[in-house]
C-alpha cells in the first residue's frame, strides 16, 4: 500500500517533501509565496455542497450492514432468486441512510460555521507600507501584523516590537495550555527599536530560518538575519496562535506559521471517530453472522441440490423446471434465495435501534438534575450520543488537576502563631465546629484596605492582632514584607496583587486583611500600611526562592532602623535553621503542622531574625562581591544565604488551602471502589500534585509505598521504574510479556496487550514530566506501563498536552481497556480526544475542553453519577438489548431453516411476508426499545451505594462473544420448539368441523403467533423495571399484532389488493380453534420455563453482586442518601512540602530597578476584561508574570544548540 502511494504520488503531483526548514523574508510576499507555505485559513469541516452526497454515502456504505442491505436489494431484483419483495429491505435501508445523512449534514454545517467565523476575524496587516484591516484567512507567512490588547493572536508570530518597556508583551495562554497566569514574551532589541513606526516596519527586511511546523508548544528554534547579523530566536520571542494579548496596548509580529501549520492546530490532533467497544464487537459479530448465514445458506443449497436430484426431478410432472435450470443451477439459485429469506439474522434495524437507545440515554444525561450545577446554571451535556454504554466500562480515568479536581482557588485557611492555632471554630462546649458557608465571617470593615472577597471565620485572630499582640503582628508583618508580589493600585484603596503563585497571593492578601497591607514597592523600599499607619521599609536584600533552598528571605530595615531578616519556607528547611531557644515552640508548631498537613493544606513556616548593623554591612559587602563574581557565583551566593539564614526565631506557620471542588475525595473513593484506576496528569509541580493527591484521597497514608520517579536520564528512569516494580511484585517477569492478537473486522487489526499483574496492597506512583518524557520513549514505555498499572494511583506532573495524550494512548493501546479523560482546559484537549471518552468540565477555563469532549458537566463529582449510574445503566441496557435482539432475530430465522427440510429447500418462508416485514419494524420494535431505554436493575441510589455493581461492565460480562454464542444456542433451542411443536401438533389434524387447518397459511399464522408470544414473554422475563410505558408497549404490540393480522387477513384488504394479501380468512378460521391455542401455550411454556428455571438456579447457587443488591433492595427500604461526611482526618506523619508551586521567583526583577522604572506611572487595570467566569467568583485572582526557566521543562536536547548561532 505504501509503495503504491509512493508510486502514484509523483504522478498525482501530490508528492510533498516534508518541510525541513522554514525560510522566509519579512515584507516579501512574492518570495515567501514561492515556498507555498500554508496560509492562515483553517478547515475542520468534512464536506462541501457537492462532495456531501457521494462522500457521505460512501462513508455510510462503508458500514457493513448498509452495504449488505444494498446487496440484498440488488439480489431481490433478480426474479429467479427473489423470495421476498424488494421493498422489504429498501424501505428500512432508505430510512436509515436518510436519518444518518441528515445528522452528518447538520454536524458539518456547524463546523463550517465555526471555521467561517474564525477565518473571517479581522486583523491589521502591514501591506505596502500601510496597515490594512484584513481577514485572518488572508494572512500569509512573512506578513507583519499588528495586535491590540485582548486580541487573539492570529497566527504563530515572531514578536517584533511592543508598546511595553523592554519590548515585553503579556499573553494569556489558557486556550493553549490551560494555564491562566500571564506569560511574558520579549522581542529582540534590534526589532523592538522599530516601535510602532510603520515606515521602519515596512522596510524591515529580516530573513527568518526556523524549524518546520511541529506541535511542541514549549520550544522554538530559529534565527533572524538582519543586515548581515544573525540573531537567535527562541520560545520567548514567539507568540502562538490561540493566546490572548493582555495588558499590552499593541505589538507587532511577523507571521511564522499560518493556519494548519500553527502549533495550536498541530497540537489539536486528529479527530477520530470514536466507536465503542460494543460497536467493535458488534461489527465482529455481524461478520460472524455473515459467515454463519453463508454456511446456513450453503447447507440449504446443498440440500436443495440433493432434493432436486432425488425428488424434484420426479416432481417435474407437476412443477416443471424453468428453462435451462438443472439441479445444480437450482441449488445455486436457492443459495441466494436463502440469503434473502434468512437476511433477518443481520437486521438493519439493529443499528438504528442502537442509535435510538443511545440517543435516549443521552437525553437522560442531559436531563439529570443531579448533574446540574445551579451556581453556574450548567446542566450536564452528552455532546456525543454514540458512546453511552462505554461509560459503563471505564477502567482508567485520566484527570487533569487544576480546575478539575481543584477549583484553582487558594485560601488562607489556618495559622499557628507562637504556638497558638487559629482558624478553627469551636462551640461553647469546646467541640470543633465544621466551617460551612453559613458560618459567621470575620468583619474586616475596620480596615479600609481590606479585600472584600477575603473570608475568615475565627474572630480570635483579629482580636489578637488588634490587641497588639507582638507575635501576631510580626507574623503578618512578615507576610506583608517577605514576598515578590507586585502591587497595582489603579484607584486609591483598590489594590491588586500580581503574585508569583496563588499561594503567595493568598498569604499577602491575608496579611492585608489583618491590617498589614502591602501597598507598593520600589527596588529599595516596601511601603506597607500597618494597622492604618503607613510604614516604609528599606529593602536591603531579597534571598529568593528556588527549588533547592525551598525558602525565601528578605532583609529590611524598619523606619526605626531595626534590621530584620524575614524568612518563610518549607517546614523541614526552616526547622534546621532555628535557634535552639525555640525548641519548645517548635514542638507545638509541629503538632499544628501535622494537623494542617492532615487536612491536606499547604503549609509554610515563618521565622525571623534580628540582625546586627555591623554584621549586615560586612555581609552586604561580601554579597556584592559574590553577585558580581565571574565564576561560582551561584555557589558563593548560596553559601552567603546559608550563613545568614540561621539561628532564626520561629514565628508560626500558615496553612493555605488549594480548594478542592466539592465532593472530590468522596467521588474518588467511590470510583476506586468500583475498581477504576485514576491517573492524574497535571502541569503542576510535583509537590503540588502530591499534595492534591493526598487531599483528594488518591494517595493515602495506608498505602504501602509511594514511588517517586524523578530522574534525568533514560537509564535512571528505567532503573527507578524497575525498582518500583520489583518492590511491588518481586517475582514479576523481567521482560514484559506482550500478547499479540488480532481482532476487529476480518481480524485485520493487530492488537498488543500487556496483562495486568497481581500486586498485594496499594501503591502510588508519582512521576515528573522530565522522567515521563524518557519513559514514554518506545524502549521504556512498556516498563512505565507495567509499573504504573500495578499502582492504585498514578500522578504525572509537569506534563505537556501532548504527553497527556501519549499516556492515554499508551494505556489504550496495551491494556485494551476503556479509558476516560477528564479536564477543563485547552491543554486537556489532546487527552480528551485521545481517550475513549472525553469529559469536559464546563464553566471554568474557556470552552476548549468542552468543545472537544464527549460529555460535559460543571463539577468533577458528577463523574460518579455519570459512570456509576448512567454509564452502568447504559451498558446494562445496551447489553440486554443486544442479547434480546440477536435472540429474537436468530429464533425468527432458524425456524425458516428447519422448515427448509420440509419444503424441499425451496426457500419457502414459514411466515407470511407481511409478518416478516413488520416483525422487526412494528411488532417487536417498541417493547425492546422501552426496555432498553427505561430498564434499571437497581435504582440510582443503590447504584452509587454499591460501586462494585460497576465491575461487570469493566469485565465485559454482560455481552461478549461468549454471551453471543450462548444467545445463539438459546435461539436454536427456541426455534426447534417453535417449529417442531406446531408441526407435530398440526400436520395431521383438522378443525373441529373437519375442515383444513394443516394448510400452509394456517401453519404460518400459528408459527408466527407462537413466535411473537414467546418473544414477548422472553422480553417480559428480561425486563426488570416495569414502567407503565413498558406495559403499554408490550401489550400494545401484541394487540397491534392481532389487530394488524386480522386487518390484513380481512375481506376488504383481499378484495382491494388481491395479490398482496392472499391470507384472507386465515386468522378468523384458525384462531378460533382450541388446539391452536393449546399449541401456543405449550410452545410458550417449553420456551420460557427452562429460562426461568436456569436463572432461578443461578441466583440460588451463584448470586452475582447484582442479585445480592437486588435482594437487599427487596428487604430494605431505599438507602438513605449518602451522608455528606466530613473528609476523614488523616493521621499524617508527612508534612506538605513547601507550598509554593512555582520555581524561581522574580526577586531579580524586584531589585533590578529597570523593571519597576515605569511601573508607578502605568496604571492599567488588570481585570478590566476577562472572559473567564472564574475571575468574578473567586476572592482574588493572581497572575504570575515570569515563566519558569525554560530548561526545566525542556526534554533532553536532541540536536545540540544548532540554532543558537
Amino acid at each position: 500500500m505504501e509503495s503504491l502511494t509512493s508510486y502514484f504520488g509523483p504522478l498525482c503531483g501530490k508528492e510533498e517533501k516534508p518541510e525541513e526548514e522554514r525560510h522566509f523574508r519579512a515584507n516579501d510576499r512574492p518570495f515567501n509565496l514561492s515556498y507555498r507555505y500554508a496560509d492562515n485559513a483553517i478547515k475542520t469541516s468534512k464536506y462541501n455542497l457537492f462532495t456531501f452526497l457521494p462522500l457521505n454515502l460512501f462513508e455510510q456504505f462503508g458500514r457493513l450492514a448498509n452495504a449488505y442491505f444494498l446487496f440484498l436489494m440488488v439480489l431481490q431484483l433478480i426474479p429467479q432468486v427473489s423470495s421476498l419483495s424488494w421493498f422489504t429491505t429498501a424501505v428500512p435501508l432508505f430510512l436509515v441512510l436518510a436519518i444518518t445523512a441528515v445528522k452528518d449534514a447538520s454536524d458539518d454545517i456547524n463546523r463550517h460555521r465555526s471555521d467561517k467565523q474564525v477565518n473571517n476575524r479581522m486583523v491589521d496587516v502591514l501591506i505596502d507600507g500601510e496597515l490594512r484591516n484584513e481577514k485572518w484567512m488572508n494572512v500569509q507567512v512573512g506578513d507583519i501584523i499588528k495586535l491590540e490588547n485582548n486580541q487573539f493572536v492570529t497566527a504563530d508570530l515572531m514578536l517584533l516590537s511592543s508598546s511595553e518597556p523592554l519590548n515585553l508583551v503579556y499573553v494569556e495562554t489558557a486556550e493553549l495550555d490551560g494555564e491562566t497566569n500571564l506569560k511574558v514574551k520579549q522581542a529582540l532589541t534590534v526589532t523592538g527599536d522599530m516601535g510602532d513606526s510603520t515606515d521602519s516596519l515596512a522596510s524591515f527586511k529580516g530573513e527568518v530560518r526556523c524549524e518546520p511546523p511541529n506541535n511542541r508548544l514549549d520550544r522554538f528554534r530559529g534565527t533572524l538575519s538582519l543586515d548581515g547579523q544573525t540573531y537567535s530566536l527562541d520560545n520567548d520571542k514567539v507568540l502562538l496562535r490561540g493566546c490572548t494579548l493582555r495588558n499590552t496596548e499593541w505589538c507587532f509580529g511577523l507571521v511564522i506559521f499560518g493556519g494548519p501549520d500553527t502549533k495550536l492546530m498541530q497540537n489539536s490532533g486528529k479527530t477520530t471517530l470514536k466507536r465503542t467497544s460494543i460497536d467493535h464487537l458488534m461489527n465482529v459479530l455481524v461478520l460472524c453472522i455473515f459467515g454463519f448465514l453463508a454456511s446456513m445458506c450453503a447447507v440449504l443449497a446443498i440440500g436443495n441440490g440433493i432434493w432436486e436430484v432425488r425428488e424434484g426431478s420426479v416432481f417435474t410432472v407437476f412443477l416443471p423446471r424453468e428453462q435451462g435450470v438443472n439441479a445444480a443451477l437450482s441449488s445455486f439459485l436457492s443459495f441466494w434465495s436463502y440469503v434473502i429469506v434468512l437476511n433477518t439474522v443481520v437486521p438493519i434495524s439493529l443499528y438504528v435501534s442502537v442509535e435510538i437507545i443511545r440517543l435516549g440515554n443521552s437525553f437522560f444525561i442531559d436531563w439529570d438534575r443531579k448533574m446540574y450545577y445551579p451556581k453556574s446554571d450548567t446542566p450536564a451535556q452528552a455532546r456525543t450520543t454514540t458512546l453511552n454504554e462505554e461509560l459503563g466500562q471505564i477502567k482508567y480515568i485520566f484527570s487533569d488537576k487544576t480546575g478539575t479536581l481543584t477549583q484553582n482557588i487558594m485560601t488562607f485557611n489556618k495559622c499557628s502563631i507562637n504556638g497558638k492555632a487559629y482558624g478553627e471554630l469551636f462551640d461553647f462546649s469546646g467541640q470543633r465546629v465544621e466551617i460551612t458557608e453559613k458560618s459567621e465571617k470575620v468583619d474586616f470593615s475596620w480596615n479600609q484596605l481590606a479585600d472584600p472577597k477575603f473570608f475568615f471565620h475565627d474572630h480570635s485572630l483579629v482580636e489578637t492582632v488588634r490587641e497588639g499582640n507582638q507575635e501576631a503582628q510580626a507574623f503578618f508583618r512578615l507576610l506583608a514584607l517577605c514576598h515578590t508580589v507586585m502591587p497595582e493600585e489603579k484607584k486609591e484603596g483598590e489594590l491588586y496583587y500580581q503574585a508569583q503563585s496563588p499561594d503567595e497571593g493568598a498569604l499577602v492578601t491575608a496579611a492585608r486583611n489583618f491590617g498589614f497591607v502591602f501597598r507598593s514597592r520600589t527596588p529599595e523600599t516596601i511601603t506597607a500600611v500597618e494597622m492604618g499607619r503607613q510604614v516604609v521599609y528599606e529593602l536591603l536584600a531579597v534571598l529568593d526562592f528556588n527549588n533547592v533552598r525551598k525558602r525565601m528571605s528578605v532583609i529590611v530595615r524598619s523606619p526605626e532602623g531595626k534590621l530584620t531578616l524575614y524568612c518563610k519556607g518549607a517546614d523541614t528547611i526552616i526547622y534546621e535553621r532555628l535557634h535552639p531557644s525555640c525548641n519548645k515552640l517548635k514542638e507545638v508548631t509541629t503538632g499544628h503542622l501535622n494537623e494542617y498537613a492532615g487536612d491536606g493544606l499547604r503549609t509554610l513556616v515563618l521565622a525571623y531574625k534580628d540582625l546586627d548593623e555591623s554584621y549586615m554591612d560586612e555581609w552586604k559587602l561580601r554579597h556584592h562581591e559574590a553577585s558580581t563574581a565571574m565564576d561560582d557565583r551561584e555557589e558563593r551566593l548560596d553559601q552567603l544565604y546559608e550563613e545568614i539564614e540561621k539561628d532564626l526565631q520561629l514565628l508560626g506557620a500558615t496553612a493555605v488551602e488549594d480548594k478542592l471542588q466539592d465532593g472530590v475525595p468522596q467521588t474518588i473513593e467511590q470510583l476506586a471502589k468500583a475498581d477504576i484506576k485514576i491517573w492524574v496528569l497535571t502541569g503542576d509541580k510535583q509537590e503540588t500534585a502530591e499534595n492534591i493527591g493526598y487531599s483528594c484521597n488518591m494517595l493515602r497514608e495506608e498505602m504501602k509505598e509511594i514511588f517517586v520517579v524523578a530522574a534525568n536520564t533514560a537509564e535512571a528512569v528505567k532503573e527507578e521504574l524497575r525498582n518500583a516494580r520489583r518492590i511491588m511484585c518481586p517475582d514479576s517477569a523481567e521482560e514484559p510479556s506482550v500478547i499479540k492478537a488480532r481482532a476487529g473486522l476480518f481480524w485485520l487489526q493487530k492488537t498488543e496487550r500487556v496483562e495486568d499483574e497481581k500486586v498485594d496492597g496499594d501503591y502510588g506512583l508519582v512521576i515528573n514530566g522530565h522522567s515521563l518524557a524518557f519513559a514514554l520513549d518506545t524502549d521504556l514505555h512498556l516498563e512505565l506501563l507495567r509499573t504504573a498499572c500495578m499502582c492504585q494511583t498514578v500522578i504525572c506532573c509537569r506534563v505537556t498536552p501532548l504527553q497527556k495524550a501519549q499516556v492515554v494512548q499508551l494505556v489504550k493501546k496495551y491494556k485494551q481497556a476503556v479509558t476516560l479523560a477528564i479536564g477543563d482546559g485547552a491543554n486537556d484537549v489532546s487527552m480528551i480526544k485521545a481517550a475513549h471518552i472525553g469529559v469536559g468540565i464546563s464553566g471554568q477555563e474557556g470552552m476548549q475542553a468542552v468543545l472537544s469532549s464527549d460529555y460535559s458537566f460543571a463539577q468533577f463529582r458528577y463523574l460518579q453519577r455519570l459512570l456509576l449510574v448512567h454509564g452502568r445503566w447504559s451498558y446494562l441496557r445496551m447489553c440486554k438489548f443486544l442479547q434480546y435482539f440477536f435472540y429474537k432475530n436468530f429464533t425468527f430465522t432458524f425456524v425458516h431453516f428447519w422448515y427448509a427440510f420440509f419444503c424441499g429447500f425451496s426457500a419457502q418462508t414459514v411466515y407470511d411476508e407481511w409478518f416478516i416485514t413488520l416483525y422487526n419494524l412494528v411488532y417487536t420494535a417498541l417493547p425492546v426499545l422501552a426496555m432498553s431505554i427505561f430498564d434499571q436493575d437497581v435504582n440510582d441510589r443503590w447504584s452509587s451505594q454499591y460501586p462494585q455493581l460497576y465491575a461487570p461492565g469493566q469485565l465485559n460480562l454482560y455481552f461478549s462473544k461468549k454471551a453471543f454464542v450462548s444467545c445463539m444456542m438459546h435461539s436454536c433451542y427456541s426455534s426447534l420448539i417453535l417449529f417442531f411443536i406446531p408441526w407435530a401438533a398440526m400436520h395431521d389434524t383438522v378443525r373441529d368441523d373437519g375442515k383444513d387447518i394443516a394448510d400452509y397459511q394456517s401453519f404460518a399464522l400459528l408459527a408466527q403467533t407462537c413466535l411473537l408470544i414467546v418473544m414477548s414473554a422472553q422480553l417480559c422475563l428480561d425486563t426488570s423495571y416495569w414502567t407503565a410505558v413498558n406495559q403499554f408497549f408490550v401489550w400494545g404490540s401484541l394487540a397491534a399484532y392481532f389487530a394488524v393480522t386480522l386487518t390484513m387477513y380481512s375481506n376488504g384488504m383481499f378484495l382491494i389488493f388481491t395479490s398482496s394479501f392472499p391470507f384472507i380468512g386465515t386468522a378468523r378460521n384458525s384462531l378460533n380453534q382450541p388446539n391452536v391455542w393449546l399449541t401456543v401455550f405449550l410452545t410458550s411454556l417449553l420456551c420460557i420455563l427452562p429460562v426461568v428455571a436456569f436463572r432461578f438456579i443461578l441466583i440460588q447457587l451463584w448470586p452475582t453482586a447484582n442479585d445480592k443488591v437486588r435482594h437487599k433492595v427487596r428487604k430494605e427500604a431505599l438507602p438513605a442518601p449518602a451522608p455528606r461526611r466530613p473528609p476523614t482526618r488523616r493521621i499524617s506523619t508527612r508534612r506538605s512540602g513547601y507550598a509554593f508551586s512555582h520555581a524561581q521567583g522574580y526577586g531579580d526583577l524586584v531589585t533590578s530597578r529597570r523593571f519597576l522604572l515605569r511601573l508607578p506611572l502605568r496604571s492599567r487595570p488588570l481585570f478590566t476584561q476577562t472572559d473567564s467566569p472564574l475571575a468574578q467568583n473567586q476572592p482574588q485572582h493572581y497572575r504570575t508574570i515570569p515563566e519558569e526557566a525554560e530548561d526545566s521543562q525542556k526534554p533532553p536536547p536532541t540536536g545540540g544548540a544548532a540554532a543558537a548561532q
Binding site: 439529570d368 380468512g1065 447457587l1101
Partner: protein, 370 residues
C-alpha cells in the same frame, strides 16, 4: 430540551423535575424469588397434567381408519397403468375393502391423503393467480406470470384456472359402500359440499360474472388446465353452483398444505338415512376408486381416512402426550429447584457477603452450566 427557552433567570437551564426525565417513573421490579417461582412451577406442572389427561381422554374418544390404497387390493393394476404417461387418459377403477370393528359414532369425515406431495414448494405455491380465482375479468384472459408455465394451454389460450396448483388437482374419486349384516351392499351417502372455509367459498373464490351469461360462456376463450379431463364449468355435473372456481374440491385443493404429507376433506357422512343416522356402523366396507392421480413418479402414497372428530379436531395424540411429558418435566425441574433453594438459597447466606457456597461439585456444576 425545548422547555429551556421558556425559562429565564438564574436557573434557566435546570432540567425539569419530572419522574420521566429523572428516570424515577413508578415501576414494578419483579425478581425471581422462591416465593413466586416454585409455586408457579408446581402450578404449571399440575395444569399441564390436567390438560394432558383431559386431552388424552378427548382424543381417545375419537375413531380413525386409515387406508393406504396406492397399491392395495385391485388398485395394483391401476397403479401399474398410471406408471406410463401415455395411459394418463385411460380410465381405471379399483376397489379396496376394509373392516370397521367398532362403530364410528357421530359425524364421520372422509379424507383423501397424499404423502410426499410437496404443495409447499415456493415455486409451486406461487404458481396461481388469486386475481383470476376471485373472478377478475382482466386476469381471466390474462393470467399472472406467476402461473408459468401453466399460463397458456392449447392454442395458446389462457388457462383458467391457471398455475401449477390448479393444474395438479387431485382427481381420484371415491364411492364408499357398506356391506350390511345380511350381505346387502348399501352405498354410504357422502355429503360433498361444505368442505371449505366459509371465507374461501364466498370471498376468496368467485366465478367471473358477465351479465346473464352462463359460466361456460364466460369462460369461453380460455383453456382448461392441461391435466384436467373436464373444463372448469363441468366439475360438478349435479350442482351448477358448485362449478368453476367455486367448486369445493378445487378450493380444498387450492388451500396448499404446509407439509408434504397431508390429508384433505373429501366428504362428510350424510346421516339422514339408516343405518347411518348415528354414524358408521361396524362391519365390512369397500371403496370404489376411480384411480386417476399418479403418485408413483414422486414415490408418493395415497390413502383414505375415515375419522370422527371432537372439539379438539381429529385423532392427534401429539398434544395430549406432549402435555403429559411437559408436566413431568416441569415437576422434575420444580423438585430440583426446590432442593437447590432449600440447600443454598433458603437461609439467604448466599445473598449476604461475598462468600459463595464452595465445594468441588459446585464448581464443577458451575463450569458446566456457564
Amino acid at each position: 430540551m425545548g422547555k429551556v427557552k421558556g425559562k429565564s433567570g438564574p436557573l434557566a437551564r435546570r432540567p425539569d423535575n419530572s419522574a420521566f426525565k429523572q428516570q424515577r417513573l413508578p415501576a414494578w421490579s419483579p425478581m425471581l424469588t422462591a416465593n413466586t417461582v416454585l409455586p408457579f412451577f408446581y402450578f404449571m406442572a399440575l395444569l399441564c397434567m390436567l390438560l394432558g389427561v383431559w386431552l388424552l381422554l378427548t382424543v381417545q374418544s375419537t375413531q380413525e381408519k386409515k387406508l393406504d390404497y396406492t397399491e392395495a387390493g385391485t388398485c395394483n393394476t391401476c397403479f401399474e397403468l398410471r406408471k406410463n404417461v401415455s395411459n394418463a387418459a385411460k380410465p381405471c377403477s379399483c376397489k379396496v375393502e376394509f373392516e370397521i370393528k367398532k362403530a364410528f359414532k357421530g359425524d364421520v369425515f372422509f379424507y383423501y391423503g397424499l404423502q410426499n406431495f410437496h404443495q409447499n414448494l415456493r415455486r409451486y405455491m406461487d404458481s396461481r393467480d388469486d386475481g383470476q380465482m376471485v373472478g377478475r375479468k382482466k386476469n381471466l384472459k390474462n393470467p399472472s406470470t406467476y402461473c408459468k408455465p401453466f399460463t397458456n394451454g392449447l392454442n395458446r389460450l389462457p388457462i383458467a384456472p391457471c398455475g401449477a396448483v390448479a393444474n395438479s388437482i387431485f382427481n381420484d374419486s371415491f364411492t364408499l359402500s357398506y356391506r350390511g349384516s345380511r350381505g346387502r351392499v348399501v352405498p354410504v351417502p357422502l355429503l360433498r359440499k361444505g368442505l371449505t372455509w366459509y371465507t374461501d367459498k364466498n370471498i376468496k373464490y368467485r366465478n367471473p360474472q358477465d351479465g346473464n351469461m352462463t359460466l361456460a360462456q364466460v369462460l369461453e376463450g380460455t383453456a382448461q388446465p392441461l391435466y384436467w379431463q373436464k373444463p372448469a364449468y363441468e366439475l360438478d355435473t349435479h350442482d351448477p353452483n358448485n362449478n368453476g372456481f367455486i367448486n369445493d374440491d378445487l378450493i380444498v385443493w387450492m388451500r396448499e398444505a404446509a407439509f408434504p404429507n397431508f390429508k384433505k376433506l373429501y366428504g362428510v357422512l350424510y346421516r339422514a338415512t339408516k343405518p347411518f343416522t348415528t354414524g358408521l356402523p361396524a362391519g365390512n366396507y369397500s371403496i370404489n376408486i376411480s384411480y386417476n392421480f399418479p403418485v408413483q413418479y414422486f414415490r408418493g402414497r395415497k390413502e383414505v381416512v375415515l375419522t370422527t372428530l371432537t372439539w379438539f379436531g381429529g385423532q392427534n395424540h401429539f398434544l395430549p402426550v406432549a402435555y403429559l411429558i411437559t408436566s413431568c418435566l416441569i415437576l422434575l425441574i420444580a423438585v430440583v429447584l426446590t432442593v437447590a433453594w432449600c440447600k443454598f438459597g433458603k437461609n439467604g447466606r448466599n445473598m449476604e457477603g461475598d462468600g459463595m457456597p464452595s465445594g468441588t461439585t459446585n464448581e464443577w456444576l458451575k463450569s458446566v452450566l456457564l
